[in-house]
């Protein structure tokens, strides 16, 4: 077996997994707090990529330097994704807080359909070329055939985001409030936590990581369209379930496992059935370990 090919697939899988992880975090955080599969989360990621592209193009045409364009586009994408995530929660999920879970899920599907077609109508149904915002590094040349510099940037960004997120949840006041809310909403409210605010913050944080993922993947692959959020969202959801939905380290682990298996599967076996494989993987995991790798089995009291 060729070691270099193996290394390439391994690192490719790591990159892929990092992107999935960034999206999966949003799923798992929202699920952890309000037990809702936010079906429209993939759309937030797509909107992040679109906003990034639009702002980047405008500023490039105005003649801004590359670095400024990257920073401005990134900021805009994050701000707008957060705004969409926040608004979405207020419109489609908040009125349904006490409704049956099926209702909230159907509402989420509706939201996903709505946002997808909104972008389709407001922008275009074609694939748009995305400028590669991440520059190639000179010093990285000798290794570029194994791991390109954008891939390196993706992995490093993911690690940084993970560390920041862990810090946010473990050591800040809002993080503590989030953990409390996810354990027991009623009790948290009795202790003076503004549950509505915590849920909004969760949506905003989740959307921000999705937007980062959106820009990174778009500038890595080089093209976007309105449909990109759907399959990425599903795969990130697979990753979140794989790791145990509701658990943040689980989501990262699940995403990496999914990234690697996909990468090796397409590298060694066949690329036609890549998406089929992701779904099969999900089905198999759910049958044998319904609560995921790091998840705890739920016991229900009557």
């Amino acid at each position: 077996m060729d070691f270099e090919y193996f290394a390439q697939l391994f690192l490719g899988g790591l990159t892929r997994g990092s992107i999935y992880a960034l999206i999966a975090l949003g799923y798992t955080m929202v699920y952890g707090i309000i037990e809702l599969i936010n079906f429209a989360h993939g759309e937030i990621y797509m909107i992040g990529a679109f906003t990034g592209l639009i702002i980047a193009s405008v500023f490039t045409m105005l003649g801004f330097p590359t670095l400024a364009v990257v920073v401005l586009a990134g900021m805009a994408a994050i701000v707008y994704s957060c705004a969409y995530g926040f608004t979405m929660e207020k419109i489609a999920y908040k009125p349904l807080r006490n409704a049956p879970r099926l209702s909230a899920l159907i509402s989420a599907i509706g939201m996903s359909l709505f946002l997808q077609n909104y972008v389709l109508l407001a922008q275009t149904s074609d694939f748009l070329p995305f400028p590669s915002l991440i520059p190639d590094f000179e010093f990285w040349e000798p290794y570029a055939h194994i791991l390109t510099s954008p891939e390196l940037v993706i992995i490093i960004t993911t690690v940084v985001v993970m560390i920041l997120l862990t810090f946010l949840i473990k050591f800040t006041q809002i993080g503590k409030a989030m953990r409390a809310t996810s354990q027991d909403k009623m009790m948290a409210a009795l202790l003076g936590i503004n549950v509505d605010r915590v849920i909004s913050v969760t949506f905003i944080v989740g959307s921000a990581t999705a937007a980062i993922g959106g820009i990174l993947i778009a500038s890595h692959i080089g093209q976007i369209n309105f449909y990109m959020g759907f399959i990425a969202g599903i795969k990130a959801f697979v990753a979140a379930v794989l790791g145990g939905i509701g658990s943040i380290p689980g989501a990262v682990l699940g995403a990496l496992v999914l990234g690697w298996t996909e990468s090796f599967f397409t590298g060694y076996i066949s690329s036609d059935y890549e998406d089929v494989f992701a779904f099969l993987f999900l089905v198999v995991i759910l049958i044998f370990r319904p609560s995921g790798i790091l998840g705890r089995a739920e016991t229900k009291k009557v």
């Binding site: 709505f114 407001a122 922008q123 049958i287």
Partner: protein, 398 residues
């Protein structure tokens, strides 16, 4: 709250939405020629729209909150009361029956074709209604069973020359088999996991059909599927369309009959009970796994038969007709009409399929409207247009 506050709130909402939709609605970049198109008029539209919609939104939310406080003592709505009137049933059936029988002779071929598609959706909606409305299992891969039916007719006909009338029950059976194969492993899953797994299953079927060229002829699909024929006669194009129309009408009537009977049968009640409380249901001696499997298999059967009719009607099928959004449209018909209610599902399907057909200019807004409808229905009227009325028993002292 005063009117001033209302206006202030709506004004803020309008500013917020103008900000929110700014990059996507206003700016349009052309990355090839490097030009930017500024569409400021969209911003004005969004601002005005958001102002009034947010007022309406708050009014409706408030009305709903007041309504739930008053307790629902009003009883069933007008349509339900009309449906319950026994003396209206017979004339109603006669009028609707005459209308459907004469339909292909009154209207043009084009209208009949549209009506056939709508009726296929009615059948699919009624089948999905078993799974979602009665058994409470959210199945997002329902279109897979539709695909199984369509492909089983197309392939059996291509390889073995199987005719429509044999393919029809066979397609249903094969779909039911697929329902059992899928249902068996996923029964343990909770509601929302089940939704995603069924969605995954639907996509697997579509992707396999798209990639397995030797089996399903890939994305190019299968053409020249024969229309059903009457033994001994040779039907013209118009004749065969009318014939298919009557077949699908008969199938829809059959579906309504079966589901109506099922609803009040032992299985039907077990489904409804299972939907409400699994644990209580199991402790009453209902086999959870078996009951759910039955729902899956029975729901899939209708989709399979619908698929056979679909293949016969269009004479050409390819995997593009069986995407996840097709499942979502079927789901939409069930949700809009009213989960669990037969009359609701029928009117929901007819409305959702016929309306976009007749409002052609509206076509591009079709999917976005479906999305909005799903959200709005869930927020304001979770029971659907024609809400299902549960049987209630009253004990009266004599």
């Amino acid at each position: 709250m005063t009117a001033k506050d209302e206006i202030k709130k709506s004004f803020l909402a309008s500013i917020w939405f103008m900000f929110l939709t700014f990059p996507l609605m206003v700016i349009k970049v052309n990355t090839v020629t490097d030009t930017v198109e500024w569409r400021w008029h969209n911003m004005v539209l969004v601002g005005i729209g958001a102002f009034f919609l947010s007022m309406l939104w708050r009014y409706l939310l408030k009305r709903q909150a007041d309504g739930s406080k008053k307790e629902k003592k009003e009883g069933p709505g007008i349509i339900q009361r009309l449906l319950q009137k026994k003396e209206l049933t017979l004339p109603g059936i006669i009028i609707i029956g005459c209308f459907t029988l004469l339909f292909p002779h009154i209207f043009s071929m084009y209208q009949t074709n549209i009506m056939i598609s709508a009726l296929i959706y009615v059948m699919l909606g009624l089948g999905l209604n078993i799974v979602i409305g009665l058994a409470g299992l959210l199945d997002l891969g329902y279109v897979a069973f539709f695909a199984v039916g369509a492909y089983s007719y197309a392939l059996l006909n291509l390889h073995y020359g199987v005719v429509f009338w044999i393919a029809l029950p066979l397609g249903g059976l094969l779909a039911a088999l697929f329902g059992i194969i899928l249902g068996y492993p996923v029964l343990r899953l909770r509601g929302d996991y089940l939704a995603i797994v069924t969605l995954g299953f639907g996509e697997i079927i579509r992707l396999v059909l798209e990639n397995w060229n030797e089996f399903s002829f890939g994305p190019s699909g299968i053409a020249n599927i024969p229309k059903p024929g009457l033994p001994g006669t040779d039907l013209s194009l118009q004749g065969s369309t009318i014939f298919i129309f009557y077949i699908i009408v008969a199938l829809v009537i059959f579906t309504i009959f079966v589901i109506n009977r099922l609803e009040n049968s032992r299985i039907g009640r077990a489904w409804i009970a299972l939907k409400d409380d699994e644990i209580a249901c199991q402790s009453m001696g209902i086999n959870k796994a078996k009951t759910k499997l039955r729902a899956f298999a029975l729901g899939a059967t209708w989709a399979g038969m619908g698929g056979v009719v679909f293949a016969a009607k269009t004479t050409f099928i390819n995997p593009a007709s069986f995407t996840i959004w097709e499942s979502v449209i079927i789901l939409c018909t069930v949700v809009l009409g009213g989960m669990g209610s037969i009359a609701g599902v029928i009117s929901g399907a007819l409305l959702l399929i016929l309306l976009p057909e007749y409002l052609r200019d509206f076509g591009q807004f079709r999917m976005i409207t479906f999305g909005a409808v799903l959200v709005l229905m869930m927020v304001f009227r979770p029971g659907g247009m024609i809400e299902n009325v549960r049987k209630t028993y009253k004990f009266e002292k004599n």
